[in-house]
Amino acid sequence: MSDLPPLNEENAGPGTPLKPYHVTFTADSLAPLLSRTGESLDAYVYMGEATVPPGAFLGAYGRLIHETFDYSTGVHVSSDMKVSKAVPVGTEARVSGEILRLYERNGDKYVSFMVNIDDEAGGRIAEVEHSSIYAFRSRA
């Protein structure tokens, strides 16, 4: 049983901050993603330095929302990502964000929230507007 509050209209109004976390983009932490996409970190070496694949930023939402709210059956519906700069593997980042809106469509309930990925100096690395269905209409 989770101690986190449920994700709903009462707890997650627009502007609600999500619990930030710190992450280090290491070769080991990137390996599962690269395995799934069929890539190698070698392809991301520029000027002798491996850089973090932008695909890694698309998955940064998970801890942010699931360490703030209790909900298990969500379905990712969209991501709008903007990369601001390339960062080398080994970069430490702070991931933060806030709820943008909750809305309903065809009986399913959606949440949109920002995912901001910044370096330790506060410089923006990337941002992603993420949307998921967090509660399904009855399909019975």
Binding site: P32, L33, S35, R36, T37, G38, E39, A43, Y44, V45, Y46, T51, V52, P53, P54, G55, A56, L58, G59, Y61, G62, S72, T73, G74, V75, H76, V77, S78, S79, D80, M81, K82, V83, K85, A86, F136, R139
Partner: protein
């Protein structure tokens, strides 16, 4: 005027011309979160909800698009990329998907020097799993 070409870094050169199709990539999707009980990636839960099985993660599907952009635009994708991805249908483990991209806008002063690529991820059953568009600023 001859079409611009992105420098060959790191993988291939792209002709920057509207309607140019980028070389497709084919990937065997992996459901890395299949053991995440109660989630949509869990076979049992997904079937209970009326789906064929657990979904391959949406961020993984969109990362396939990122791979296509990287293979064609290299470092500038990593430095200046934007991606708007929409997941349309579940993608399941067990078949291949093809990632397709077509240049729909070339860099100009009006668009900040960005090339825009229309993208889709198509299952081997011909269903569109995801659509999107991506941009970057070629060197």
């Amino acid at each position: 005027m001859a079409p611009l070409r992105v420098p060959k870094e790191p993988l291939m050169a792209v002709t920057l011309e509207v309607n140019t199709d980028l070389p497709r990539i084919t990937i065997a999707p992996i459901n890395a979160a299949a053991d995440s009980q109660g989630s949509i990636h869990d076979d049992e839960k997904a079937r209970e909800m009326g789906f064929r099985g657990g979904f391959v993660g949406g961020s993984t599907i969109l990362a396939y698009m990122s791979r296509l952009m990287h293979e064609n635009f290299g470092r500038v994708w990593v430095e200046t990329g934007t991606l708007n991805g929409r997941l349309r249908r579940p993608v399941y483990e067990g078949g291949d998907v093809t990632v397709e991209g077509t240049i729909i806008e070339t860099p100009s002063d009006a668009n900040g020097g960005r090339v825009t690529v229309e993208l889709q991820v198509v299952t081997d059953e011909g269903e569109i799993g995801a659509i999107g568009s991506a941009t970057c600023i070629p060197a």
